[in-house]
């Protein structure tokens, strides 16, 4: 198709690509140019990086407490990913490999709980955590994030488990493996790509979650990055340079995870969301 296109079509395509890239990348460019610019107080001055500086980053890390916030978020995220993916793998194997009564019911339930809005869950969970004195506890946050990410993780992994040929499992049994041995030596390595994709989605959810973190945490020492950003809004003056520098630091891990998981992400999405 490309080779037969007329000059008009080629110009149209070039315009479309340029407009799309401008819309897609401008906010990201503007975030970076503000973060590195000493004259970040005005939007028009911040547009071109004429006065390079790392000062906003150092301020964000020290005065802005971002060293603490990033550490808290990293702990919460890593524990959530490990627990959630472990549980989801067990659930996915059960859903994809066993026939049992109520199976369809469990499947529909998993699908339906994915739509529950955080705004509805946050009220009872807040009151519950308050009763249990688990507000300001990173453990409480992990518990909620695991629950929140689990339905999608099971749903997503299920497709990957179902794609592993049954014959391989049977062969392992014939070779004398027990179920756990088969699970560890055959199933686990083959579902690894699915685990990578699922971990990526769980990572992103836990890293940038806002609603529960905003509700559960009010102790500076315990805050995560999602709510830490609001500290750059002052009574009268907003520290846009610091805010954009901190935003950049929050964004980088997510971009890295997306790039690392990129190929798996596509397959995971298609099998998880579409198939």
């Amino acid at each position: 198709m490309t080779r037969r296109s007329s000059p008009a079509a080629r110009i149209g395509k070039a315009v479309a690509v340029t407009a799309l890239l401008a819309f897609t990348l401008f906010p990201i460019y503007f975030m970076l140019s503000t973060a590195f610019n000493a004259r970040a107080a005005s939007g028009t001055d911040a547009l071109l990086p004429t006065h390079w500086t790392f000062e906003h980053f150092t301020t964000a890390l020290t005065d802005g407490h971002f060293t603490t916030y990033m550490t808290n978020s990293a702990i919460v995220t890593v524990v959530t990913v490990l627990v959630s993916c472990g549980l989801a793998l067990l659930g996915a194997v059960a859903m994809a490999r066993f026939q049992f009564s109520l199976r369809t019911t469990v499947l529909v339930m998993i699908l339906v709980v994915q739509m529950l809005p955080a705004e509805a869950l946050v009220i009872p969970l807040f009151l519950q955590m308050k009763d249990l004195r688990m507000l300001n506890s990173l453990g409480g946050l992990v518990l909620v994030y695991v629950a929140f990410s689990l339905p999608f993780a099971i749903w997503n992994l299920r497709g990957f488990v179902a794609a592993v040929p049954r014959e391989l499992e049977e062969a392992a049994y014939l070779d004398g493996c027990g179920w756990w041995q088969m699970f560890r030596r055959v199933l686990l390595p083959l579902v690894w790509p699915g685990l990578v994709a699922t971990s990526a989605f769980t990572f992103v959810m836990a890293w940038e979650e806002f609603t529960f973190a905003r509700t559960f945490l009010n102790n500076e020492e315990r805050m995560t990055v999602g709510i830490g950003l609001q500290h750059f809004f002052g009574q009268n003056v907003n520290d846009w340079g610091g805010l954009m520098a901190a935003s950049t630091m929050v964004t980088i891990p997510v971009v890295i995870v997306f790039v690392l998981a990129q190929r798996r992400l596509g397959s995971g999405l298609v099998s998880g969301a579409v198939k």
Partner: protein, 321 residues
């Protein structure tokens, strides 16, 4: 793409009756053993809270009741308060529904156009467009919202400064965040920017399953690109379009951080609340947990209806058994 969601049970290799009873029973228990952990977490932290929020919605539950721990059952009073008066019907519901409709339409249309564009690009440009879309997708909702707030900052934002320099705006400027139409226009821009990459990449993957021969044959019959899109691509891709549209609808109905983090969205400007923000501000900010729960239940019911349509769409594709 339309392969079945799961395979039917493979016939048992060994006649189960020939196995000792103990083995059979342990095999029947195994799926539940595997599901025990996940189901426990889901039941305790998703299903129980939904029951509790429903109970709360029928109670008076304010600061006093939080302390005493003895809420009073008041029937439908919270619902009556939420549903009566103009606020829900003239402000919150339009904010929720019109925003979701515009954002979903915008995201799906842009995502589809980008997917079609990707098909007509060489490998290098294609990688560039997909790569930048991935970065936009990776930009966290929280930071993305702050960047859009910065771009439209009524005081020193780039849009204001540029418009004033061009003489298109009076020097006293204009606060886009107090007017609800411009507030939501910015929110739509934010949500489309964040949401279109998922749709574009999913539809692009789906497009590769449409046989090229169909397009060639239609071209020989004199069908132009517009006609071919509606007569070939859309019918064949119907399941993919259905899924991305319904998923976007669910996401855009319960959008929270993107509204809450914009100036005024955190409670100071009731003109811009949607159902989720109204529920949150009523309960968490104002300690009216009963009223907030009633609003949350209403939001959940709306989402439940959309989800039922989604589940039925999946069933109809004969993929879920």
């Amino acid at each position: 793409m339309a392969t079945s969601l799961d395979e039917p049970a493979a016939p048992a290799r060994v006649d189960p009756a020939a196995r000792p009873r103990r083995v059979r029973r342990s095999r029947a228990a195994r799926p539940w053993l595997l599901l025990a952990g996940p189901l426990l977490v889901i039941a305790g932290l998703l299903l129980y809270p939904i029951v509790r929020v429903t109970v709360l919605s029928f109670q008076r539950y304010g600061l006093k009741e939080v302390i005493s721990g003895k809420p009073e059952f008041i029937g439908l009073d919270n619902y009556r308060e939420a549903l009566s008066g103009d606020y829900l019907w003239k402000t919150v519901l339009p904010n929720t529904v019109v925003f979701a409709a515009v954002a979903v339409a915008g995201t799906v249309v842009l995502g589809t156009l980008v997917a079609l564009l990707l098909q007509h690009l060489g490998p290098r440009l294609r990688a560039l467009v997909i790569g930048s879309a991935l970065v936009a997708w990776a930009l966290p909702a929280v930071t993305g919202t702050y960047v859009w707030v910065w771009i439209f900052d009524p005081d020193s934002g780039i849009v204001r400064r540029t418009l004033i320099a061009l003489g298109m705006l009076d020097p006293e400027g204009f606060n886009w965040f107090t007017d609800r139409l411009s507030f939501y226009a910015i929110a739509v821009l934010n949500v489309i920017h964040h949401g279109y990459p998922f749709i574009a990449i999913t539809i692009f993957a789906g497009l590769s399953t449409v046989p090229e021969e169909l397009h060639e044959a239609a071209k020989l019959d004199g069908a132009n690109a517009w006609r071919r899109f509606w007569s070939i691509t859309v019918p064949l891709m119907r399941p993919v379009f259905a899924v991305v549209t319904i998923l976007s609808t669910i996401w855009d109905f319960k959008v929270f951080a993107q509204i809450y983090l914009m100036p005024g969205g955190d409670g100071s400007n009731p003109d811009v609340f949607n159902l989720g923000v109204w529920s949150y501000v009523s309960s968490i900010n104002q300690n009216k947990y009963g009223l907030g729960s009633a609003i949350a239940v209403l939001l959940t019911l709306v989402l439940l209806v959309i989800t039922m349509i989604y589940v039925r769409a999946l069933f109809r594709e004969d993929e879920l058994q």
